[in-house]
Each structure stands twice: as C-alpha cells, then as structure tokens.
C-alpha cells in the first residue's frame, strides 16, 4: 500500500541505503500534514451515510436518471467515500488507485451504470463541504482534492 513513508522506504531499499536526511524530511512533511487529513477523515467517517444519502437524493430527485439505479448508486458512492477516507489517512491516493480506480471503467460499463450521476453526486458533495462548519480549510482542501481526483478518473 503506497503512502508517503512506504514510498520513501521502497526507494531507500532499492538503493540499499539507510534513510537519508532528505528521506526523513519527506516523512516529517507527511507527518506534519497528518492532523488535518485525519480531521477530514474523522468527519467523513462520522457523516458518510448522511453525505451519501443527501448526494444521491439530490441527484436522483431531478428525475433525470433511471430510479432503478438509485440504490446501486448509493452503494457505490458510499464505497468510494470510504476509499477517500482511507486516502486521507494514508496521505496518498493508494487506496483509491488500487481498490477503486483500477478496473473501474470496465465494471461500470459492464453494469451500464450512469457515471454522469456519480460525477454529479461527488460534485455535489465537494461543493457542500463547509469551512469551518464541517472541517478546517486545510482538511477541506485535502478532501476536495481527492474528490476531484476521483471525478477526473470517472469522467
């Protein structure tokens, strides 16, 4: 699983050297940003069900998408939000890349699910994050960044 620390350690091991001062700087930088990321992760974990329900409701209430897909959409949005929660914890896009994005297009296409609805739901969630009501500015930046990363991968 890729994270700031494992990336540094893998590189050091490939070269057969001890962690250098620049390796340690990189790890320290990741530790320094960790409290904000964890704040975002905590908020997301506690409101993941509400966030999903609200977003899906907002997207499907327009009557533009087939209602039969609503439950599947809710399930998938919840799943992706969980992966974003993991990314916030590790400080990298590893969990999303390995468990969410690899093979995603193929699966969604095979089930004829509307990616447009997903994108709309994630955009809705992104635009609704309130600072500082939900989380601090840095935490919100990290969270929105990951939502954008996912939206890009879906579109």
């Amino acid at each position: 699983m890729k994270s700031a620390v494992t990336t540094v350690v893998t590189a050091a091991d490939a070269a057969g050297r001890f962690p250098s001062s620049s390796d340690i700087e990189a790890v320290k930088g990741s530790f320094d940003r960790a409290p904000e990321r964890m704040q975002a992760a905590e908020k997301l974990a506690s409101s993941i069900d509400n966030m999903t329900a609200e977003a899906v409701e907002a997207v499907y209430s327009k009557g533009f998408y087939e209602q039969a897909n609503k439950d599947k959409c809710a399930r998938d949005i919840n799943h992706y939000l969980r992966l974003i929660n993991y990314c916030l914890v590790t400080g990298g896009t590893g969990p999303l890349d390995e468990w969410g994005i690899a093979g995603m297009r193929e699966v969604i296409r095979a089930h004829v699910l509307p990616t447009a609805a997903y994108i709309e739901a994630f955009t809705y969630i992104r635009d609704r994050v309130s600072v500082p009501g939900d989380m601090g500015p840095q935490a919100a930046t990290e969270f929105k960044g990951l939502l954008d990363y996912l939206i890009n991968a879906l579109s």
Binding site: M1, K2, S3, V5, T6, V8, V9, T10, A12, D13, G16, R17, F18, P19, I24, V27, K28, F31, D32, A34, P35, M38, A41, E42, L44, A45, S46, I48, L81, R82, N85, Y86, V89, T90, G91, G94, P95, W99
Partner: protein
C-alpha cells in the same frame, strides 16, 4: 509493505468500514510521536557501523574459536560477510521503525533468512547473539543511557529520555529477528 497508516486501512477495509475516531486515536499518537520516531531512527543511522562492529566483535569474544581456522568467522572474508549482515539487519529495522510497522522487516529481511543461514552453514545461535548485542546497544544509544558521550544528533533536542517508548518498539523488532533466527 505497510506502515502504521496503511495497516489501519487494510484492517478497516476487511471490515468494510471507514476509519473513524476509534482507530484514529492510535494514529494520532503515531503522528504526535513523529519527532521521537525520527530521532530514534537517526540514532540507528548515525551509528550503524559502530553498532554492527561492536556486536560482531562481542560475539567473537564470547566464542574465540570463531576467528581461528575452522571457525565461522575465519578467514576475514567470512567475518566481513558477518559485519555486512549486521548492517543489513539494522537497515531493515530502521525502515520498520520509521514506518511504525514490522511488515517490511518480515517481508524483505526475515522471510527465508533462517533457511539461508542454515544452507550456508551460519551458526544461527551466534547470529542471534550478535543481534541481541545490537539490540542492547541500539536501545542504550536511543535512550541516551549508554556510558560516555551522547551518540546521536536528533532533530528533537533533549530527546533521549523521551525515546523510551520508541526504543521498546525498536527492541521488539530486534526480538523479531532473534525469534526468526532461532
């Protein structure tokens, strides 16, 4: 290979649940201790050759036959291999310490180590003894309880006594190596 963060992610994923306040308590502690952890890693990286050479010398002093003809550290080529392995083990322990997780040590160093040593005719009991000396030396340097001067320069001033907890984590990694060898 995992670190403290990805270890939490893997176990949360097995439950299909997001990482919430409960799991974050331990991770916040890992982050709060970051400076001590970095200092503890520096305590190893700044004293590698000293720790490894002392441990191998200590092992040989306890078994003087090792450097005599027929011994396992004779000729110097084999002694050099021994010193090299000591440094390699320290390197993987420094990685594990930085990551806060022993998986890199297990996967890349200990997996198959005993079998390799048996095949090469390395006496594993002596190797384990050398690792035990490295453990004692590392813990002493980290916690600044070694006799004589302070042996490393950390980024966190006055760190030695505060490194106690991290030093016991490091000791547990040495114990992992010892139990993998025996």
């Amino acid at each position: 290979m995992l670190d403290a963060f990805s270890r939490a992610v893997v176990s949360a994923d097995a439950k299909g649940a997001p990482i919430g306040s409960g799991e974050l308590v331990a991770l916040r502690k890992y982050v709060a201790d970051a400076n001590k952890r970095i200092d503890a890693t520096l305590a190893i990286t700044q004293n590698v050759s000293c720790i490894a050479a002392d441990a191998v010398a200590g092992m040989v002093c306890e078994n003087t036959g090792m450097t005599q003809p027929g011994g396992n550290c004779y000729p110097t080529r084999r002694m050099a291999a021994c010193l090299r392995d000591g440094e390699i083990i320290l390197r993987y322990i420094s990685y594990a310490l930085l990551a806060g997780d022993p998986s890199i040590l297990d996967d890349r160093c200990l997996n198959g180590l005993r079998e390799t040593y048996l095949a090469l005719g390395v006496p594993t009991a002596n190797a384990a003894r050398a690792v035990a000396i490295m453990k004692a030396a590392t813990v002493a340097i980290m916690t600044e309880t070694n006799s004589g001067r302070k042996m490393f320069k950390g980024i966190n001033s006055g760190s030695g006594a505060q490194c106690q907890e991290i030093a016991s984590e490091a000791a547990s990694y040495f114990d992992r190596v010892i139990s993998a060898l025996s």
